[in-house]
């Protein structure tokens, strides 16, 4: 794995079918995928494994996505600067603004299509377009 040049994406979402859908989609696009079911688990994983992109839900048990991104941005580099694609069912402008203010790089409203997920994921993690 040490020489694996493929980009790595961590999916942070408490819904198992969402994680499965994203995983299938992103793996088909040539990315390596990890999963965490809330913000705390994501922080644990990020301390052990490097990721090039985080796809983060908002509402999750114990630690929500906004609190997670705020906490992430306060950590040390390079972990702190990992790009975040926030994807949530919440479409209110105020809530999207909160995600941006916390440090999310991009926000898309669920449900996502495979095309949109791959397009944004490749763009944000700097992978060559397929």
């Amino acid at each position: 794995m040490a020489n694996d040049a493929r980009k790595r994406v961590l999916i942070v979402d408490d819904a198992s079918l969402v994680r499965l859908y994203y995983r299938t989609t992103l793996e088909n696009a040539g990315l390596v995928v990890g999963e965490a079911l809330n913000g705390i688990e994501a922080l644990e994983q990020l301390l052990t494994v490097r990721y090039d992109l985080l796809v983060v839900d908002v509402n999750m048990p114990q630690m929500d996505g906004i609190t997670f991104v705020k906490s992430l941005r306060g950590k040390s580099a390079p972990m702190a600067s990992t790009p975040v694609l926030m994807s949530s069912s919440e479409a209110h402008a105020m809530r999207i603004a909160a995600a941006r203010a916390a440090g999310a790089n991009f926000y898309i409203v669920k449900p996502l299509t495979q095309e949109a997920l791959v397009q944004y994921a490749l763009l944000l993690c700097g992978a060559p377009h397929g």
């Binding site: 913000g39 705390i40 688990e41 922080l43 644990e44 052990t48 114990q62």
Partner: protein, 255 residues
């Protein structure tokens, strides 16, 4: 792992425990959760069958983390001269707190320069009495290097070994229920708490109460170590995640 007919009661008891812990009202309901691995139930189920399998030097990587990272980090934050306090809770029959004592005597170069107080507590008074007595059979030593067995234990009858008096007197044992705030508060604050394989068995409310109690039992910046299959991600957001070379541990945020 194979179970004979004689172990049937043991198996049933563990399954009932897990049904209670998950709020399952029927075996079918529980079996469904187990099959779909709801909230990592498979892992919890497996743990239920191994929870009392305690022995000396279990989870040695955490002991390594204690001496190489946690204690040095605590010393930087503590006023000089204050004792270092370590709590093993629940401590079952004492293998863990004694392991901590042995590990520090063997592996921590600064062990002579600081007062170290090790407290072991368990809700089970029988376990606490056994811990105080300090008698163990061979199985408890499966991970302890033989020269340490010779050094810190004396052979007794029937293949049993007793921990030497010096070491026995260096660990203080108490009875405590970690869900009960009055009981936990009475133990004061610690630098490091080992709380392995118990929080996952509690219901949601007890788990939150226990996490808040343990938070109060830590100095700001103090550490808590869970079992290697456990994660605060399913228990409480009160603690920070900290990663060291040998282990992931949790920290009460420094003030």
């Amino acid at each position: 792992m194979t179970f004979t007919q004689a172990k049937r009661y043991y198996v049933e008891r563990r399954v009932v425990e897990r049904m209670t812990a998950t709020g399952s009202d029927s075996f079918e309901d529980y079996f469904g959760r187990l099959r779909s691995d709801v909230y990592g139930e498979i892992e919890h189920f497996v743990n239920a069958f191994t929870v009392n399998e305690t022995y000396f030097y279990r989870e040695e990587h955490q002991l390594a983390c204690l001496s190489s990272d946690l204690l040095p980090a605590r010393l930087q934050m503590k006023p000089p001269g204050e004792p270092i306090r370590i709590w093993s809770v629940p401590c079952s029959t004492g293998e863990e707190p004694y392991s901590i004592a042995i590990w520090l005597l063997e592996n921590w170069p600064l062990v002579d320069q600081h007062d170290i107080e090790i407290v072991g507590s368990d809700i089970d008074t029988n376990a606490v009495s056994a811990a105080r007595a300090g008698m163990y059979v061979k199985r408890a030593f499966m991970r302890l290097p033989p020269y340490l067995l010779e050094k810190y234990f004396e052979p007794e009858q029937d293949d049993a070994w007793k921990i030497i008096d010096d070491l026995r007197q260096s660990v203080h044992f108490t009875t405590a229920n970690i869900v009960d705030r009055t009981q936990t508060n009475a133990h004061g604050r610690f630098d490091v708490i080992f709380c392995r394989n118990v929080l996952i068995y509690f219901d949601e409310t007890s788990r939150r109460r226990a996490a808040e109690n343990l938070y109060e039992n830590l100095f700001p910046g103090g550490f808590i170590c869970l079992g290697h299959t456990e994660s605060m991600s399913r228990i409480s957001p009160l603690f920070d995640v900290a990663r060291f070379a040998d282990a992931i541990v949790y920290q009460r945020p420094p003030e």
